[in-house]
């Protein structure tokens, strides 16, 4: 798909992380960016977008969050057939290999360990969105 047209959801309880990724997305020309503070809010936003037939193209999701963790949100999304293809990139300060394996087993598209830099995030976005089919025009 055309990268600047992507609709992206950032799910993280820390505004600094959301702001960092948002700045990187803006540098890539992406402006359709939405934010959620925890997994439950993120899930609700994904479901609402899906029901309005305006689905997200990519999600960046923190691991440790209040109300609903990132891994629980990931499992929930992957269990819903209408959203199961949605690419989700897990973002976390937890570097244990077991976490990476768990995330990938649960269907995460990729994994980013904090601290991250612009080049790492940009590369992942470009790689994932290049594989995403172009959005059908309304």
């Amino acid at each position: 798909m055309n990268i600047p047209e992507a609709k992206i959801l950032l799910v993280d309880d820390f505004s600094m992380v959301r702001a960092s990724i948002k700045n990187i997305l803006k540098d890539l020309g992406i402006t359709n960016i939405h934010e959620a503070k925890d997994g439950q809010q993120g899930l609700d936003m994904l479901a609402e977008a899906q029901s309005k037939k305006e689905p997200f193209d990519l999600v960046f999701c923190d691991w440790n969050m209040p109300n609903m963790s990132g891994i629980d949100m990931l499992k929930e999304v992957k269990s819903r057939p209408e959203m199961s293809d949605l690419p989700i990139v897990m973002v976390t300060a937890e570097r244990d290999r077991a976490n990476v394996v768990q995330a990938l087993k649960q269907g995460a598209k990729d994994y980013v360990v904090k601290p991250f830099n612009k080049a790492q995030i940009s590369k992942k976005i470009e790689r994932i969105l290049m594989q995403t089919p172009a959005r059908a025009s309304a």
């Binding site: 820390f14 600094m16 702001a19 300060a93 904090k114 601290p115 991250f116 830099n117």
Partner: protein, 171 residues
């Protein structure tokens, strides 16, 4: 700092510990803002020294714990230093200690601790992730238990100086 295979780091070696702490803080800042920090003085605080402390305006504090070892890691800033640092992270002017600043210092502490935990665990420790808390207030001090030894690493940025502190007891 690469760990020697199978060797536990001697936690009484404050110089090694502070080097690791500095590298973790520097790596975090480098990744997020492409700036390098400069290592300042290391100070050791023990029983009496813990009562003589720097004054800060905002501190992020996180537990450094494994089954048989307890400690704390903290990052402490003055307002003058933290505002331009956070403004750089957000690409927006931050001029007061508000929810966003509190949130950011917590996350910064969390991210640096993630790296520190990994570095120490490379030496054979089993430190776990913990939740950071933030203390704020003009000229506050962060005291440590009298039974603990605290190493304070001064860190210089282009915007001023802040402190990374690590303390352990029972080692």
């Amino acid at each position: 700092m690469a760990a020697e295979q199978g060797s536990l780091l001697d936690l009484s070696r404050g110089d090694q510990l502070c080097q690791i702490v500095f590298e973790c803080v520097n790596e975090t800042f480098y990744q997020m803002t492409q700036t390098n920090l400069r290592k300042g003085q290391v100070r050791v605080f023990n029983t009496e020294g813990s009562l003589i402390n720097y004054k800060h305006d905002i501190s992020g504090i996180i537990g450094v714990v494994q089954d048989d070892l307890e400690g704390t890691f903290s990052l402490s800033f003055s307002s003058e230093t933290v505002f331009p640092i956070l403004s750089e992270f957000y690409s927006k002017d931050i001029k007061k200690i508000d929810d966003r600043a509190i949130d950011s210092v917590a996350e910064l502490t969390n991210v640096v601790y993630g790296l520190l935990k990994e570095s120490l665990n490379d030496y054979g420790y089993g430190f776990k992730m913990c939740l950071p808390i933030v203390v704020m207030g003009p000229n506050h001090k962060v005291f440590s238990p009298l039974s603990a030894t605290k190493w304070s690493q001064e860190i210089h940025t282009n915007h001023g100086t802040f402190w990374a502190e690590l303390l352990f007891h029972n080692f």
